[in-house]
Symmetry: C2
Subunit: 134 residues, 2 copies
């Protein structure tokens, strides 16, 4: 069975997913990186900017404008750690948590619609494989 390289197919699928998510994010005024940050903070285990950068695989300097924006819009809190005042402790506000939940639900719904194109057994195996490989 002739097929493209995995790399080519994964890249195409990535572009397709991105195109699918873009309108959802735009509708809520959230950039891709802002969503990734909200997502990273939603777990609750990440507290500092350095930890967040490591978690989402971004440079720490890339995060700063995103955090500035999210803070201005009241979606995150960013306060000096009393125990080490070099560190900023990050947390979602209620409003941030809500935006994250809404956007995430819409994205998940759109993902499900995409997976409808697969046989049910393949669908489960695909997600399982993706969890393992990623």
């Amino acid at each position: 069975m002739a097929r493209d390289d995995l790399g080519a197919m994964v890249a195409r699928l990535g572009r397709r997913l991105l195109a699918m998510e873009q309108p959802i994010l735009a509708r809520h005024g959230v950039s891709m990186w802002a969503y990734v940050v909200l997502n990273g903070l939603a777990g609750g285990s990440v507290r500092t900017q350095a930890a967040l950068a490591a978690r989402i695989g971004a440079d720490k300097t890339r995060l700063i404008p995103v955090l500035d924006d999210l803070q201005e819009r009241g979606l995150i809190e960013r306060e000096p750690d009393p125990a080490d005042r070099r560190v900023r402790l990050l947390a979602l506000t209620d409003s941030g948590r809500e935006v994250h939940r809404v956007v995430r639900d819409e994205i998940r719904t759109a993902e499900e619609a995409l997976l409808e194109g697969l046989a049910p057994a393949d669908r489960e195996a695909f997600v399982r494989a993706l969890v393992t490989l990623s």
Copy 2:
């Protein structure tokens, strides 16, 4: 079963595949875009630069330095179409076909190694799903 968004997982897998391919490409002195071009031409159905750009989803202007380099190195031919002298007809040289074959084989081998981490049934379903979705 809590999992990340498909987008996040696909992006991570994409980065992983890229990191895996990078040393192979470097060893043969071929950039990612150069490989994509060789791959696009290997099928034989694509003949013009515009068609190639469309096929691989790249801007036509992005292709030009890549084609210049591949031509200088004797991996592709690029000649005006006698029937329409605006058009450049592209083709792999024997040497280009050989480089493509070698690189592709190494990439496929590495991909197989990656897929070893999956149960055989999941492996097939994963590739099948990827073909469908991408």
